[in-house]
Amino acid sequence: MKKINLLDDKFVWNGKVLNEQIKDLNCDTEPTVSKSGGCLVRFVTNSRKMKIQFEIVKRQNGNFPHIGITAQEGIAILYKKRDTKKWYHVDCMDARNGGGSVEIDMNKYLYSEQDTEIMICMPILAYISLLEVYVEKESFVYSVKKNESKSILFIGGIHTYGVGVTSSAMMFTNILARKYDFEIYNVAFNTYNVTKKIAQHIEKCIKEIDNLKAIFIEADYIKQEEDIFLQYFCQLLNKLKDLNCPIYMWNLDRERIKKYKNTIKCEKISRDIYILETKKYLICDEDMCMYSKNFINDTGNVVLYRLFAKILDKI
């Protein structure tokens, strides 16, 4: 078998550079944006047997009864036949003793000699320090060409971060990444006063991303004071006013939508800003989609994927 390092830039999708920047910025507490959270690794191979090995560092401690251990510290692996669209799960695993390994035998799934594309979703509460694949000696491994002409930015709070998923493959940004031929950027904060953080970081995000076709902003108002939220919300809108792409605000209920629409009028920001009433879709199937009024689960992420997909279909 030969070993390939998968933490090479050519294999990594979704803003490894962005996360590096955010990690270095001054924060009141230790940065809560994981280097790995929302990141993907993709490669194509003709190897029928492979072994994926990983290690984690700086695993965030805390009480997360609503995030699967697999999502907190492990990886999720999917495959598809090259040049097809249907993705299938291989497995997902946690990181007992700081890491793990999994052996994959593609003979279980494939009838004939076929190249496969592998996608590995990273943990959301830990940093990946090592990610390698061992493949058959005579086989090839190459990176998947990124579609640099279309980028989408998702920036926000707990839902964008992945809070509520059992496996990181179920994060709605990761679902969108495997269903669409875009580069999907995920920049998220699991902390207080999220809008302040978003307003502070959005400019750097926009500078780094080429060909931005849309921005989705999670208006996470749960863990913040209302007046701070509105103050930074206006600041945020101001920074976005010269952008040439539509902006979608989501995670709001009716009352807040009215409030924020009025705010937009006051600032006289003439922009393509759309407010998505995502909450009503989640609350329709609350028992299936949510743990409580504040936290969505895997299926809540599927509902969000379906809502955002309707917009991405038109891009």
């Binding site: 999917l78 299938y88 799960h89 989609c289």
Partner: protein
């Protein structure tokens, strides 16, 4: 009495003011070294406790009542012995999960506005492929007179803890149903109600339970919280009790389990025995015999057979489906009340990656859709007789 009332008012106000911004009814969780330890944050003198293990009338979903005590073990001594024929990983899983409270519920109503739980679980740690709110979660619903279930809250101890106290707020005389942990065992549980108040059970409208026999999926993986496994969703939709004889890795079509299931009066049986068989030969040798053993006891009850939960095209499991389908066809030819759910056909292949977290274990979406199928079949059956 007046002093007690004043204490209660002050106590309640203190918590209600402190936690007024919280939407959930859960107020606080305290971790203990022993379930009998005095609490630091809550004045226990305001409560009187009921030991759940001595009140089987409050517990639904466990077939074993030993004397007047609750025993969450579902399997017979014969099954304990049969499992010894299998390999170490099966034996380990069986030992760890044979008393897991998957499919069990506590149902009560009380005129106490505050309910205090003191609980000791067996396991302290997360279970792979599950959230804590699923593996160790107590999932609380209110049940209206109409039979509608409204989700109220869910709680579980944090990683590394297994003995804890939790308090919830309810409306007086509200009917409460709590789905118990799917992948953990309750070693001790005390329910505290305010002094002078009462607690009593409330039963299901439909008396005979539905029996489930399956593997890790039927045990509840990977629903996000314990109430969202498909067995519990069926229980809510049909408003009837269930008995869940499902244990991860241990679903082997054991004749001792068929015997146990056979001797229970039930309204239906759902068999999800497939992928825990070591290989196709073992499966083919046991499946039809297992089915017929149950059918010999339950001549007329509907039995639903499930094919393999296989959503990543694992070729090795396709022959298992053939075995299930053959058993189903033969049963139909004998004019038995047997039904088939082909799990892979229930979902659109484009969305296979959305209904499970790993190609096998259902998300809540998968759980809901399978539950709907089961309810549809059983609903049609009961309407037709």
């Amino acid at each position: 009495m007046i002093l007690e009332m004043l204490c209660f008012i002050v106590f309640s106000l203190k918590y209600l003011i402190k936690y007024k911004h919280r939407r959930e009814s859960v107020i606080n969780m305290e971790y203990l070294k022993n379930v009998d330890d005095k609490l630091k944050c809550i004045d226990e003198n305001l409560f009187e406790f009921v030991d759940l293990m001595e009140h089987p009338e409050l517990v639904f979903g466990t077939p074993n009542i030993v004397g007047n005590n609750v025993d969450f073990s579902k399997y017979s001594y014969e099954t304990d012995k049969e499992i010894l024929n299998y390999n170490e990983s099966v034996k380990r899983e069986y030992e760890s999960l044979r008393k897991a409270s998957s499919g069990c519920q506590i149902r009560f109503k009380s005129d106490s506005n505050l309910i205090l739980f003191k609980i000791e679980l067996r396991r302290k740690w997360d279970y792979r492929k599950l959230t804590l709110w699923s593996s160790s979660g107590f999932d609380v619903y209110t049940v209206k007179e109409s039979g509608e279930y409204i989700h109220k809250t869910v709680f579980a101890p944090k990683t590394g803890e297994n003995i804890f106290a939790e308090i919830i707020q309810i409306n007086s005389e509200e009917q409460i149903c709590i789905y118990l942990p799917q992948y953990n065992e309750i070693k001790a549980m005390k329910i505290g109600i305010l002094k002078g108040k009462k607690i009593e059970s409330f039963k299901y409208a439909n008396l005979l339970p539905i029996i489930f026999y399956g593997n890790s999926i039927t045990q509840g993986a990977s629903a996000s919280r314990s109430g969202n496994s498909f067995v519990n969703i069926v229980s809510r939709r049909m408003n009837c009790g269930i008995l869940n004889f499902s244990t991860s890795s241990c679903c082997k079509g054991l004749l001792s389990v068929a015997d146990t299931i056979g001797k229970i009066n039930c309204s239906a049986i759902v068999i999800d025995y497939t992928r825990n068989a070591w290989d196709w030969k073992e499966f083919e040798a046991s499946y039809d015999t297992f089915y017929k053993s149950i059918r010999a006891y339950h001549k007329n009850e509907p039995i639903i057979l499930l094919t393999v939960s296989n959503f990543n095209q694992w070729k090795g499991y396709f022959p298992y489906d053939d075995v299930v389908k053959r058993t189903y066809k033969n049963a139909i030819q004998r004019k038995e009340n047997t039904f088939l759910i082909n799990q892979r056909s229930v979902f659109n292949e484009e969305e296979y990656d959305l209904v499970t977290i790993d190609g096998v274990h259902y998300t809540d979406l998968g759980m809901y859709i399978i539950a709907e199928k089961i309810c549809e079949i059983l609903g049609d059956f009961y309407d037709s007789i």
